[in-house]
């Protein structure tokens, strides 16, 4: 993945942390991204092959996700379990 695209993912994760009210930092490193929480925990997020994301806490794998939606859900459950999670509801009413 290009550094440009990884930087954009880092911005998305940083923004998500703000939405959840979590004061962690997101940094780029040679393999992907590193997320550091105030409690000292470090999460490493690296691109998986062929697609998706691998999340590691220290040496332990927390999960592999096919894409950003799964990654975000996993990080919210890990870092902000108290943050309200909603679900998309599509109504029955026609727009037009």
């Amino acid at each position: 993945m290009s550094s440009h695209k990884t930087a954009r993912v880092a911005r998305v994760l940083s923004g998500a942390l703000r939405v959840w009210g979590v004061s962690a930092s997101v940094e780029l490193d040679s393999e992907g991204l590193v997320m550091r929480t105030p409690s000292g925990a470090t999460l490493k997020i690296t691109p998986a092959v062929p697609n998706g994301w691998l999340v590691l806490r220290d040496a332990c794998t927390l999960g592999t996700h096919a894409g950003l939606p799964g990654l975000l859900r996993s990080l919210r459950e890990e870092l902000a379990p108290e943050a309200a999670g909603g679900r998309l509801i599509i109504g029955a009413q026609s727009l037009l």
Partner: protein, 319 residues
Amino acid sequence: MSALPVSVVTGFLGSGKTTLLSRLLRDPALARTAVIVNEFGEVGLDHLLVEASDEEVVLLEGGCLCCKVRGDLVRTAGHLLARRARGDAAFDRIVVETTGLADPAPILQALMTDREIAHALRLESVIATVDCAAGDATLDAHPASVKQAALADRIVLTKTDLADSSALAERLRRLNPSAPQLVALHGKVDARRLFDGSPYDRPLYNSESHAESGVTTFCLRRSAPLHAVTLSLFLQVLAEHCGAKLLRLKGLVDVVESPGRPALIHGVQHVFHPPAWLDAWPDDDRSTRIVVIAQGLEAGWLQDLIEVLDDEVTACSIS
């Protein structure tokens, strides 16, 4: 049978909702209107004041419309529709008047999603009354009033004879730039300008970002078409993580799989209408335009979110 238009009249306590409705119901343009009003407390004062609504007024008992009697709202609307179907009641439009303390979002969601009524109704307009004499102080002190104005399709300024409305009007324009503002003196306003189509007719599609009273309004733009899956994932992520922070979202989306036929999308918090596919673009601009009204969400974050999701969908399509 075509869907019946339903409008919601909201606005803080004393802002003139009932005065407005009372006048509107005398307008021949709204002669065939059924009104659902709500009382807050023991006496249904609002009900007593809506003079022209006759037997079509149904009073919801038992408290605030948004948090306690959504079921009643649905049942009441269902009863009205059933009476109309039997020929016992003749009306071509429903207007729901909320209490002054109501958050209109759950009311809109109930109208959009309930399986008993949603298919028979078409959300026409959300109208918010704002009192020019007390509006500034109310917006400062009551978050519910901010949300009412932010969610509105049209804002009606009331009591303009008591105070200069220009500063408040400007504040409301920052809060909700896409809502046309109308002035009602003692409830008098042109009904056709309040009920003249759907809320999807005229979303503001400029790039300017506004912030007021903790509410930001901005427009996401993208010149390249989006994959349909990207749009679906984007809405899912918003619903899952942003919840109540997303007040309203309206947009036209250029979808890869539907060239020349943009998708019209609309949502209130985590509840969305099914996307509608237009036969053609409404103007020469062929870019995706999504207007977001939110509390605590950043335009740049949502723009990056769309790009990352589409990158991932594109990569999956290729691999």
